[in-house]
């Protein structure tokens, strides 16, 4: 079911964050995580047999069974925020590559332990 898939995607994202040391892959993992989250959010508002929460000339009154519109609104916000952080993350990735010549965090080395 979609909801389980959402949680699975979240877990895959966490797995990626745990194991990957390539910056691009980390960003991808983060995106998978967010994607899973978004799927989960949408699934929380799903009503069986519900229709999309838009009044049209066909589904023309509010007595019908709609799915919960609020999670959809929230997801929109979450997606845009995810886009913002991804853009910034990629910009950082490019800056790191310019600075260190690699995208692999293992090769960059950590802070000196002084």
């Amino acid at each position: 079911m979609i909801q389980y898939a959402g949680i699975m995607l979240i877990l895959i994202g966490i797995y990626g964050l745990l194991t990957q040391s390539n910056i691009i892959k980390i960003i991808v993992s983060l995106n998978i995580f967010e994607l899973g989250l978004n799927v989960f959010i949408i699934s929380v508002g799903f009503v069986r047999e519900g229709i999309a929460p838009i009044l049209t000339s066909v589904n023309n009154h509010n007595g019908l069974v709609f799915v919960d519109p609020l999670p959809q609104a929230l997801v929109l916000t979450a997606i845009v925020i995810g886009l913002g952080t991804t853009a910034l993350g990629l910009a950082f990735a490019r800056s790191i590559y310019r600075q260190h010549g690699t995208l692999n965090l293992d090769e960059i080395g950590g802070p000196s332990n002084g």
């Binding site: 990957q20 040391s21 980390i26 950590g110 332990n113």
Partner: protein, 608 residues
Amino acid sequence: MTFDIVVILMFLGAFSAYLISKASLKAGAYATTVFSLGALAVLLMGRSEIGSEFSVLFMNFEVTVIGWYFSGVMVLVYAMTSFFNSFWMDKMMYPGSYNFLYLFSLAGTLGLFFASDLITLFIFWEVVVWSSTFIIPMGKSRRAAVVYYTISSIGSMATLYGIMLVYRISGTLVIQEAFVPLKEDPLTATVVFVIFVMAGLTKIGIFPFHIWLPLAHGSAPHTFSPVLSGGLVKMGAFIAYMSVAILPAYEAFEGSLKIMGIPLQLYFLMILGAISIVLGTLMAIKQEDAKKLIAYSSVANGGYILIGILMMDQLSFAGSMMHLFNHAIASAAAFLAIAVVAYRTGTTKISELGGMIHRMPLTYLTYLIAIISLAGIPPMGGFVSKWLIIQGLADRGLMFMALAAFFGSIGSFLYVFRPLAAVFLGQLKPEHEHLKSEPLMMKIPMVILMVLILYFGVLPKWLLGIIGEIQVAAGIEPVMMSGNTILAVNGVLNTLNVFMIFGFGFLISLIIFLLMQKSRRVGLMDTYTSAEFIYTPELYHYAGAFYAPFERLYQNHPSVEKFLGAIAWKFHELGTVVNALFFSHKPAVTVFWTSVILVMITLGGAGI
């Protein structure tokens, strides 16, 4: 009314001393003298106002006999030492700040002794700690200040816990009332007592908290060592007194196991005091530096004071209170004498000195009288107080303590003689041939202290009268005197007679000295090398390895310093471990810990 003015005035005085120092350093230093002497005068005149209460900002004060007595001792030491300040102004890094902190810490001690609630007490305690912490590094050691602060704050934080616990139980912070409910609950009372007295132990420098004394006293600016040793150490005695007398420990521990009539809790502390006496004495014998030597003697004397306070009886307690005064002025005098030497020669190492008597006889005399008092030799004040303490101990049959006390007295002969012989007697070093005598401003406090030491050794009646009042206030039998005779259970001590006898002996030896043939002076190097040239003369200085055979007996002793150092190092290592475990530039590390915590807490939650 006068006392609140004194407290406020001292704080204002601290600031004005700083401002005056900006205009003229010497004037700032004299300001410290003027203000501390003023405080002393007000204290002496205001004795009739004991019992008055007042509040400043959110802090409350009450002048008690014991507070008055302690602050008198403290201000006396500060005032006498302050005469020396002006000579060090051009040598200090922050002379203005020194003057400021000097008076500021004095103001803090006054507030401490007058505090009527526990928070006020704690506030001034900490004020004194941090203001003195910043004076110490102006001397020779940065580490000393840190060790001093750490040890002090271990004690004060423990005390703070005690204060909070007391407040939680009794709902009040007023010193006289806060401890009352503890009497019914010996277990809590034990906890409160032990952690409360910690601050006292750290400040007096009782084993195992003694390590800061030699470091701080030995390395502080020469003008502050007398205050540290003679004055600030006594704050610890004040806390110890409060824990024992106001708790009151003997009532609270009525039901606990007793050894020779002393509750186990107190007996344990007494043992620590006894250890301090022995340890301080043995370590003092070893020291190469005159200041460190007196610092270790402070550890030993702190042991006497603590034991006497813990006894809470007619004789030992009185002895302890008196010893507090005697030790304060004697150790201040001794440190001042060393300060004079350091001022003129620039060193305090025993092996680099010698023959100072030829250049500064008054300093020699001051030092002589001070250490006689410290060692507890008649006819000085130190003898009377130690006699009282030992009388009390013997009376209760506390032989271990009494033995330690005796050991301390005899051991102190060894260590006080050494700087006397090596620094002041013996032969003057060639480079010190042209030293000048001590300046007049330095002579004044030394003469005053000398007179006081001698006076209270011979005529302690006035002092013991005040101590009797303290004893009455604490609810114990006051020490009895008849004329110049102190009445104890196992004997009496007529201090005037003792003085007469010693005076007579002194006269006889003086006559012998004058009649006997004078010694012939030999060049310093001639004595041991027969005029042969040597490269390392200091090895041949007779003060080097003075008590070598005796020191060899305990040279491999276990060391608390090393143990505490190891603990500090463990903390350091733990910090590195924390850093390596949790902080990385890779997100995976933190994600890992996040997952682990998530698992642990949810699993734990599922189990409940």
